[in-house]
Amino acid sequence: MSDLMQEVTEKAMALGVPLAVQVDLTYRCNERCVHCYLDHHDHGEMNTTEIKHLLDQMAEAGVFILTLSGGEIFLRKDFFAILEYARQLMFCVKLKTNAVLIREQDALRIRELGVESIQVSIYSHRPEVHDAITLIPGSLKRSVDAIRFLKSLGLKVIIANVLMIQNRQDYPGVHALAAELGVECTLDPTVTPMMDGNRSTVSLGVDHSALREVFRDPALVGDVDEFCAIPAKTGETELEAIPCSAGHTACYVSPYGDVFPCVQFPVPTGNVRQQRFVDIWRHSERMNEVRSIRVKDLTTCTQCSHVSSCTRCPGLAYMEGNMRGPSSQDCEKSFAKTGIPSANMLAKKIAAPNLIQIKTAQIRPVRIQTEQMQPLDARPVAAMSSATA
């Protein structure tokens, strides 16, 4: 982040201004990515009028950066009407798309409307891998063709590459493809749970050795020693810090009008069909609860040596059951970087023998039965020792 952006963000935070908002226009999608966290059925999307009304309210509230995402945004027939309106309100508009539906004419319109950037999901440079993740034959070619149109018009394109078991080997190929296309590339090694809490997608995430490899690739992280350095001792300043921008200068609105602190933080705070956006932002009890949390309030993480450098996502922590708790996926990342287990990982290790004790305790009724038959029998005690060991 540039110094000026940092300054603007701090000012927005002090004033309570939602500087950046992601609005998902639809959860419908033309791809069926194996790791996707969304339910693609339409459960009553906001219509064009409702979205324009929301954009008016967001401009009034001071929102500057507007990310339009989905689902696949180009499935909405009114997409360009929404985009045009957003630009009339002078939002800095970023798009997230798989780009499969973008044709040359669409690319021209996107340029005319002054979109800041277009992020396109690419999982592999090999069609057999990318298309097996999107479950749409030919999708890689169509996405890459669209990137070429967009880039040839001078638009800023960013390839977003999610790392998972299926494409573990391919991130260097995706980076090479990005370089050939002349576009930026980001790599995200986190596969998130589904928004309804279903965690089946998480198992598609890469293992510890793959994370270690990625975090030690200078092409990705720059100075490896610096990136993987053992974290500095935590000071008072770090403990008073906020965990992330969710609910402070950023939030998320679903296609149904639900407002959450972030797309990865599905704690319901209100719905713009029932309340004004700014009222939810300022007065929602849950939003204010999220906003009140400081690093020092985190239950396990304050004891962790990684606390000052961890990428802990409060939304992932929430989906694990406690918005003040650790996010295990980020613990894994801190561990893969430094080789030092997090406080959460150590606590789970210590807790493991306790599980055996619980199992032993479950055997106790047998002991009671035994005592009933043989009051002086010492065997259950021996069994307990053996199990604990």
């Binding site: 000012k11 009034e60 009339q88 800041e116």
Partner: protein
């Protein structure tokens, strides 16, 4: 001296934060912030009102400054903003273009 007309570039993004304008260049995503005076100029830059009128009616009443000095400063500022493609400057009125037809709040 010919009159100067100024218009907001429709390709930029802009929003007021506590009375000061944040502007993202459409050309290279560079972020600019304008102080309160520059913000007044930018908001009044509709392509139809000459710069001297903007200075006389919008800037001078806000600040204790002589018109001639303010006009010179405003012209320098307008040309600087034009060099970053934030404003358009012309000796003719500038017709409104679609993307900038709204005013940043």
């Amino acid at each position: 001296m010919n009159k100067l007309y100024v218009a907001r570039n429709p390709r930029v993004a802009a929003r007021s934060l506590d009375g000061e304008m944040m502007i993202m260049s459409g050309q290279d995503s560079t972020l600019f912030t304008l102080n309160k005076t520059a913000t007044i100029l930018w908001q009044a830059a509709d392509g139809a009102t000459p710069l001297d009128e903007i200075v006389e009616h919008k800037i001078c009443p806000e600040f204790d400054i002589e018109f001639a000095v303010a006009l010179q400063d405003a012209e320098t500022l307008a040309r600087e903003l034009a060099s970053h493609e934030i404003l358009q400057v012309s000796e003719q009125p500038i017709p409104p273009r679609n993307a900038a037809s709204g005013e940043a709040r």
